[in-house]
Symmetry: C3
Subunit: 200 residues, 3 copies
C-alpha cells in the first residue's frame, strides 16, 4: 500500500510538471517538438538529477515506459486545450505547486530507501522538486524560478524537514501527506501574501 501511494504521488507530480513545462513552451511560441521537450525536461529533470546523484541508473524513466507515455499524453492534451489553460493561471499555479510538493516527497523517499542520512535526504528532495523547473528555465533562458519566486525551495526544505521528523513517528503515508500539504500551503500562502525571504 505504501508502494502504491508513492507511485500515485510520482504520477501526479509528473503530470503536473509536464503541464507546467508544456505551457511555458506554448507561451514562448515554440513548435510542437519544443513543447514536448519542455514537458519532458520539466517532468523528468528533477528525478533524473536525483537518480544520477544517488547512482540509481539507468535512470527511472528509462526503465519505465509509463512515465514517457504519461508525459507525451499530458503534453499533447496541453497543446490541444491550450486556450483553456491560458484562462486558468491559478489552476496552473496549483498544478505546479502540487508537483513541487509531490516530487520533493518522492526524492526524500528514494534517498531514505538508499540509506542516506535524513538531512541530506531533505536536500535531495528539494533538488528533485526544484530542478525540473530550473532546467526548464535554463533552456528557455529565464532566470531560474528558484531565485525569482517567493519561498520556492524554502517551502521544500521546511516540508521535507517535517517529513523526516514525522517519519519515525507516523509512518510513510501520513508523513508524506503532511509534507505535501505543508509545501503546497507554504508556497500558496507565500504567493498570496507575497512572502519573501529578506535580501541579505
Amino acid at each position: 500500500m505504501n508502494l502504491s501511494y508513492i507511485i500515485i504521488i510520482e504520477l501526479f507530480g509528473t503530470i503536473a510538471f509536464a503541464i507546467s513545462g508544456a505551457v511555458s513552451a506554448i507561451e514562448k511560441k515554440l513548435d510542437l517538438f519544443g513543447v514536448l521537450v519542455l514537458a519532458f525536461v520539466t517532468a523528468i529533470g528533477g528525478g533524473t538529477i536525483r537518480d544520477v546523484l544517488i547512482g540509481n541508473t539507468p535512470v527511472t524513466w528509462m526503465r519505465d515506459l509509463n512515465t514517457p507515455m504519461v508525459i507525451l499524453a499530458t503534453a499533447l492534451l496541453a497543446v490541444f486545450f491550450k486556450n483553456r489553460l491560458k484562462l486558468l493561471p491559478k489552476t496552473l499555479f496549483l498544478f505546479d505547486t502540487l508537483g513541487l510538493g509531490l516530487f520533493t516527497v518522492t526524492g526524500i523517499q528514494k534517498g531514505i530507501a538508499m540509506g542516506i542520512s535524513p538531512g541530506i535526504c531533505v536536500a535531495l528532495g528539494t533538488i528533485t522538486g526544484c530542478f525540473g523547473g530550473v532546467m526548464r528555465d535554463l533552456l528557455l533562458r529565464e532566470i531560474p524560478v528558484l531565485f525569482r519566486k517567493e519561498f520556492y525551495a524554502s517551502a521544500c526544505i521546511v516540508g521535507g524537514s517535517v517529513y523526516v521528523l514525522l517519519l519515525p513517528v507516523c509512518g510513510q503515508v501520513i508523513a508524506q501527506t503532511v509534507a505535501i500539504v505543508i509545501i503546497c500551503a507554504l508556497r500558496s500562502l507565500a504567493v498570496r501574501f507575497n512572502w519573501r525571504l529578506p535580501s541579505v
Copy 2:
C-alpha cells in the same frame, strides 16, 4: 565487423562535432583554451550525458585516450585552417548534420546493448545526438540549437524510430546506415526548404 562499424561511426561523429564546437568558439573570438573546451564539450557532451543516464561510468572518454586525442587534433586543425573553414559554411553544416546522425545511432546502439526498451532508446539516441550542441550553446549563451533550427531533434526521432524498426529485420549495419542517411537527409532538406514544425 559490427563493432568496428559503430566505432567508425563514433569516430566520425566525434570529429564532426569537434569541428562544430571549435568553429563556434572561433566565431565568438574565444582564446585557444576556449576553442579547445568548446570542441571537447560539443564532441563529448552528448555521449557523456548518455553514459551518465545509463550508468556507463567512468564515462567512455575517460577510458579511451583516443577520443580526447582525436578531439585535440581536430580542434588544433580547425584553428590552423580557420580562414578556410569560414569560407565553407555549407561544408560545416554537412559535418554538423553528419555528427547529429552518427551520434544518434551510437546512442540508440548503446541503449539496446543495455537492454533498454526501443522507444526509450530513440529518446536516448536523440539526447546523444543533440546535447553536445545544446551544451555548446548554453556555454556560449546562445538559444539552444534544439529550439532554433528547423527539424533538429525531430530528424533524430524519425531516423531513430526507423533504426529500431529495421533492426530486427535487417541487422545492425543496414539499420544504422539507413538511420544516418534519413537523419542527415531530413535535416538537409528541412534547412534547404525551410521546413518547420508549426508553432502551437
Copy 3:
C-alpha cells in the same frame, strides 16, 4: 597521513568556494536562500560532476554530513560578515584561486585512485576545479568564468600535468603541494600582469 592531507585540501577548497559562491549571490542581492544555494552549488558543483563522471555514487557530499555543515556555516558567516568581505576583494580572489588549485588536485587524486590514465585525470581535475564556478555563473546568468578570466582552466591543466609527472618521482604530498602552488601562482600572476591566451 596522505589520506588526511587530501581531506584537509578538500576541506579548505570547499570553504574557499563556498565563500566565493555566497559573495557572488550577495552582490546580486539574492535572498538568504539564494545565498545558501549558490554557496552549495559552487562548493560541491565540481566534485559532484567529478563523482558522476567516474561513477562514484551516491556522490561524496551525500555520504558525508561534514561537507554540507561546513558549507552552511561558511555561507552564514559570509552573510554575517558581508560588509567586511566586500572590502577585501583581493582576499576573496586568493580564496577563489586557492579553491581552484585545491579542487584540481582532489579531482586528479580521485581519478588516479580509480585507475584512470594520467592525461585524463588532468582533465578530470580541471573539471573538478572549474565547474563549481561555471555552474555558479550559469545560475546567475553570467558568462562562465572559464571564458572570461585570464588563465583559469589553463592554470589547472599546467599544474595538473606537473602533478601527474611528479607523482611517480616525489610521492603524493609533494606532488600535490607543488601542483597547488603552481596553479595558484600562475593564476595570480596571470591576473596581476593581465596574461591572456591569444584569441585565435
